[in-house]
């Protein structure tokens, strides 16, 4: 171990490696309910070259490597279950290029959502990216790697659909590029080369993303949120359908929650609108709220609550403090939109069973092709009983998501097993072969997506 420490220190420098209890403690914890496991070393490399050397060393020594971005998955995806080297990637935070005309940004893997948001606001006000509902410390690459979604997922799909190219360090230490960049043609498209995209959704078990080219989208002068509300969950899928048909908005989210009381039992839609002029904004409002939803309002089943200019940046951590407890975790199901009512009703039951105020949310992906439905369970970090309840509720919800015909987004170990139990055996076998090909010594983020023989 001493030799390993020295070898790692030689790679990253003495300020950027630790095997002291404080770092091992902090990096053993996920922010959700996953039990902690300590790494043997924590390193924070600055370059792809350093990561390459770390991988070569780890592969040679057959020691686990766990890549970490913002560390905000809440599902324990970067908990070093089998120890090894925890690689904190946040020092790799250079915004290498923003191509205004071709609308993409080339980023190192540690660039945070907040950093990119701010950079674009200050330097490229006509461009924006699909900002996820996570705190600004979440990384762009981490979010794409787990198939995250953001506030442009309704028009443009999963954030992982917005990738133009990747640079990857393989578990065996080779650096590979994917997309147009691989033929030296710049970073503007992922297609139409042979598809070798084997690094998304794998939870860091097939390699480490070191660079990402992310699509950017037009940012209009006025962006804001209109609010609409219904009191019957059975109407929600139809409203998603009607609003998406207009093709007039950005994000569409329906939510319902116990706290504050006015939100309980109701389903609020936040509908993000963007426009370059008041005229455009009014046209969009008219088409959505007068034409598409006007009848519902007149019949008294749905209510329009006005438009507020200015987008609220995510403040998700407030949810964590509802029980004055500093913790929450959620199951994100990728669900058919038609299942909203059942997701809501059954989720509410689970929450009530575990004495947790219910909090659910459905974010539209694509033209209502799917929704990310989240069931959030707050817990009190200082009360083991509430942590136990949240963990149990999470497991029941993992099962519910699959039962209702959906799949689990960024599942933890428990959810991964449920998914693999249901997976087509041939697909599973292919996953196994790919994993063996890329990571012959099984060093990458072990415990995750382990296909049993």
């Amino acid at each position: 171990m001493n030799n390993l420490f020295q070898a790692l220190m030689d790679i990253v420098g003495e300020d950027h490696i630790s095997n002291r209890q404080e770092e091992l403690f902090i990096y053993s914890w996920d922010l959700g309910t996953t039990e902690p496991h300590k790494p043997d070393f924590v390193v924070s490399p600055r370059t792809t070259k350093e990561i390459q050397k770390i991988m070569e060393l780890a592969n040679r020594e057959k020691i686990p490597v766990v890549p970490l971005g913002g560390g905000l998955s809440l599902a324990g995806l970067a908990v070093p279950f089998k120890g090894g080297i925890l690689v904190d990637l946040k020092r790799m935070d250079t915004i290498i290029e923003v191509n205004e005309q071709a609308r993409y940004a080339l980023l190192e893997c540690g660039v945070s959502q907040g950093q990119l948001t701010s950079y674009l606001e200050r330097n490229h006000p006509h461009l924006t990216h699909s900002e996820p509902g996570a705190p600004p410390t979440a990384t762009i690459a981490g979010n794409a790697a787990i198939h995250g979604q953001g506030d442009l997922s309704q028009p443009y799909g999963f954030n992982s659909d917005m990738i133009n190219g990747l640079e990857i360090v393989l578990p065996t230490g080779e650096v590979c590029c994917f997309g147009s960049c691989s033929i030296g043609a710049g970073w503007f498209t992922q297609h139409p080369l042979p598809d070798v995209g084997l690094f998304l959704g794998w939870t860091g078990t097939t390699g480490i993303i070191t660079k990402i080219s992310l699509r950017l989208f037009p940012c209009k002068k006025i962006r804001g949120t209109a609010l609409f509300v219904v009191d019957d969950e059975d109407q929600v899928p139809e409203i998603y359908y009607k609003i998406t048909h207009t093709q007039m908005c950005e994000d569409i989210v329906a939510f319902s929650q116990t706290i504050p009381p006015y939100a309980g039992g109701l389903h609020h839609f936040t509908v993000n609108l963007a426009a370059d002029s008041e005229k455009e904004l009014e046209l969009k409002q008219e088409i959505i709220f007068d034409d598409a939803l006007g009848k519902i309002i007149q019949q008294g089943y749905g209510g329009y609550l006005g438009f507020t200019p200015g987008l609220q940046h995510p403040q998700i951590s407030k949810t964590s403090d509802w029980r004055k407890g500093g913790g929450f975790e959620y199951v994100g199901g990728i669900m058919p939109v038609s299942q909203y009512p059942e997701c809501y009703r059954r989720g509410k039951e689970i929450s009530e069973r575990h004495n947790i105020p219910y909090t659910v949310l459905g974010r539209c992906i694509g033209a209502a092709h799917a929704m990310m439905f989240s069931w959030t369970y707050a817990f009190n970090r200082s009360d083991p009983e509430t942590i136990h309840h949240a963990r149990e509720a999470m497991r029941e919800t993992d099962e519910l998501a699959l039962e209702l015909g959906g799949t689990i987004w960024k599942p933890g170990i428990y959810g991964q097993k449920l998914v693999m139990d249901r997976m087509d055996p041939n697909t599973l076998e292919l996953m196994k072969k790919i994993k063996q090909l890329l990571d012959p010594n099984g060093i990458m983020n072990p415990g995750n997506w382990e296909v049993k023989s």
Partner: protein, 393 residues
């Protein structure tokens, strides 16, 4: 001490470690917590410190030098409190200070912190220089002893002893003389104000100092105080009243602003400089004074004021608060906050980096030298710029 006995035991678990605390207001850089900027490990972030403190109090980890280093690397710059979206934000630094206090009580603090506190106790300053030398600066500048004048000019340890800061202290004194302000200083009788002692968790010593200082000032009939250092300003303004010390307190930039408004200070020498201003934490985030220093600069002829991208509430701390000016737990790296900061200043195109704090003055000037920017950027106190514009060289 167990978690149950910890003053903030009922809230310390409420930090989610979401990481907002690392950012400035506009999210442009994840490095706005000076300790995190320097070390870039989660343990050195605000959330890391809170989680580690809790783990220590719950006996999940043991005290180590490294743990003490992590706690004491907090400069109390208050960026975390500004950014934290939770209701616990008002108590973040109270929690850190309470954890340091527990370390003090157990006698387990970094050596540099112990040396600092010992020196304060023995000599009344962190430099281990005899008290008798504390008045040298004012004799050099021809400043009167305090004898019931309108203002007491409190210069603070750094302004009194550090060669570079003394220049600023003297310039300010001469500037005030020129404006006809009635003031005096205490010289060798001036006590340390205790701001750093407080933020290093030495509560007993701090209380003793405050009580002594209040009775000294009261016995001298002091009603109004001006300070060179925002650190002194903060302690006298926000902590002394709890112990019965009620003084009208001004940071010197606030007084200069008033003097300019009243036409008593008339900077006339055309300076022809491009200036960027670095907000000191104990003037800015701690006391919401962002305008007075800027207003003074703007009133000086030939000053073109440009802002760094991180300014006002978003300002990046130089790394000198919480005793770190003396302990230097954040130095020694290109990632040290002061070294990051001078590059940000340079990027504005300014040739002068203006400060309003003697600690910032020295730390940033050192950073300019280490980064080899001497020929591009000069660090100056606003007092110096204003004095020079009034012909005081």
């Amino acid at each position: 001490m167990s978690l149950a006995d910890f003053e903030y035991g009922d809230i310390i678990h409420r930090c989610f470690r979401c990481g907002y605390c690392k950012f400035p207001v506009n999210w442009m850089d994840v490095n706005n917590c000076p300790a995190y900027a320097r070390y870039r490990m989660e343990s050195y972030s605000c959330g890391g410190r809170l989680w580690l403190t809790r783990a220590w109090l719950m006996n999940e980890i043991q005290w180590t030098d490294h743990l003490a280093h992590i706690l004491y690397s907090c400069t109390a710059c208050k960026n975390c409190e500004v950014k934290c979206p939770l209701g616990i934000n008002v108590d973040i630094l109270n929690m850190i200070r309470a954890a340091k206090k527990e370390m003090v009580e157990q006698g387990k603090i970094p050596t540099a912190a112990r040396d600092f506190l010992e020196s304060i106790q023995l000599h009344g300053n962190p430099y281990r220089i005899p008290k008798s030398k504390r008045g040298v600066w004012m004799d050099e500048a021809g400043i009167e002893r305090y004898q019931g004048q309108e203002y007491l000019y409190h210069v603070g340890c750094v302004g009194a002893y550090d060669t570079r800061a003394r220049e600023a202290a003297k310039k300010l004194g001469r500037l005030l003389q020129k404006c006809g302000v009635s003031f005096g200083a205490l010289g060798e009788a001036e006590p340390c104000d205790g701001n750093e002692v407080n933020h290093m968790g030495e509560e007993g010593l701090f209380e003793m100092m405050v009580e002594d200082n209040i009775s000294l000032l009261n016995s001298l009939g002091v009603k109004k105080v001006i300070t060179l250092s925002p650190h002194s300003y903060n302690a006298i303004k926000n902590d002394y009243p709890r112990y019965g010390g009620k003084f009208r307190i001004l940071h010197y930039t606030q007084l200069l602003e008033k003097l300019i408004e009243a036409n008593r200070l008339n900077p006339t020498v055309e300076m022809r400089i491009k200036v960027t201003y670095h907000d000191p934490c104990f003037l800015g985030r701690w006391n919401a004074e962002y305008d007075a220093p800027r207003s003074v600069l703007k009133s000086i002829p030939g000053v073109s004021l440009v802002e760094m991208e991180r300014n006002r509430e978003s300002s990046l701390c130089c790394g000198g608060g919480g005793g770190n000016f003396s302990m230097d737990l954040l130095g020694g790296s290109p990632d040290s906050p002061a070294r990051r900061r001078v590059h940000e200043a340079l990027a504005t195109g300014a040739n002068i980096l203006a400060v309003a704090c003697p600690k910032c003055l020295i730390i940033l000037e050192d950073a300019v030298k280490v980064e080899g920017l001497d020929d591009k950027l000069i660090v100056k106190d606003i007092a110096e710029i204003a004095a020079e514009s009034c012909g005081i060289m």
